[in-house]
Symmetry: C2
Subunit: 230 residues, 2 copies
């Protein structure tokens, strides 16, 4: 009985502590990858910055590569969660897409793990086995939102939806990389807003472009304000 | 006299041989980076695939990192050369820009060193000190072509040229990465054409969009034919 009762509490605490340790390791790795690059970061540096022993490190991850892969997964999980939340609002398709872009930009700026995971997942030289899935997920999601946009009356029925679905996610990724190199993400939300506005005439239904451009401005300014208020 | 005469020939030959060795090393590195990634490629693998001793390798490069940096420089040099050649044709600004995009796509598909150099230069996790210069050069060049396009009557005088200049190069880069991950560059020219067509309505002067879309199609089909004829 005593054995049972005492067994009830510690595992929870231990699990919580293990999770916290794992999170500390990810945070330390994210910050080191950003400043020194993946290749320039040693496992011992991650452990030391996380304030854990290398033993504790190996208890959580097989090595540096596993940390990187886990980071990509974590980012994907978090972004999917956020997407679910936004899609739950049942806004029109194009408006949902704009919220997703702005919110991903916001998360990249504010969350080091999302930032590092997003960066790692487009590094084909670092991981030649880089995962196709996030790219395909983007393409399919964008296609779905644009098709919904046709029903909403926002997207022209003659728009080349397949071409647009293939380029919106990739263009977003390229703008992210340039913003990282040129301003350490300081101008990311502005650049993503410019990209969104530039693409609107490519798909807007007749007479809808102006409304969609206004919506873009209002959505991005909402996220920029949130950023300023942090 | 004899010493002089003999000194005239060998240095040329030696220089030629040295250049050839350097090129073999770059080619071997480009192919290994593509299949195993930068991190997964060892210096000895590069030397062995290039058919040179590690001594010959070190005679040409300080190490693997220098090979990568030299590859980025080579790609930048080659792309600038190509750009000079295209600009020398004195075509309208927007048409020049389309030729540059299509020709860069073509070179990425057909030249392993351009391909590897382009890929390396957007890997911020691999080289956190990644060079701002190629990004800035793109932005300035695109701005120049769009401004010339205003004079040519192709670009609307109310277009947000600064925003477009900041996003066209980055969007190109993102589309390149997605094409690499999803099709090993097989659809790169199609995807770049789609991107170009999608952006035309964002800057076209009234009544010019259709002409520019036709020009895009004809330019890209020219490069696709060249690709088929290789």
């Amino acid at each position: 009985m005593v054995g049972n009762a005492s067994a009830l509490v510690p595992p929870d605490r231990e699990q919580e502590r293990a999770k916290r340790t794992q999170h500390e390791i990810l945070l330390a790795a994210a910050s080191l990858f950003a400043s020194r690059g993946y290749r320039g970061t040693r496992l011992v540096d991650i452990a030391s910055q996380a304030g854990v022993t290398t033993g504790a490190f190996y208890f959580n991850f097989k090595g540096k590569k596993e940390v990187a892969h886990y980071m990509v997964q974590e980012q994907h999980r978090l972004s999917s969660e956020r997407a679910q939340e936004i899609m739950g609002r049942e806004l029109p398709g194009v408006i949902t897409l704009m919220h997703l872009s702005a919110s991903m930009g916001y998360d990249i700026i504010t969350d080091p793990i999302v930032r590092a995971g997003t960066a790692l997942s487009s590094e084909t030289q670092l991981f030649p086995e880089v995962d196709r899935r996030p790219w395909e997920d983007w393409i399919n999601a964008v296609r779905g939102f644009l098709l919904r946009g046709v029903e909403d009356g926002d997207v022209s029925s003659t728009a080349n939806i397949d071409a647009l679905a293939h380029l919106i996610g990739p263009a977003f990724a390229g703008v992210r990389i340039a913003s990282a190199v040129l301003t350490q993400y300081e101008d990311l939300l502005e650049r993503l807003q410019d990209l969104t506005e530039a693409l609107i005439p490519a798909f807007a239904a007749p007479g809808r472009a102006e409304h969609l451009i206004e919506a873009t401005r209002s959505i991005f300014s909402e996220y920029r304000e949130r950023l300023a208020l942090r």
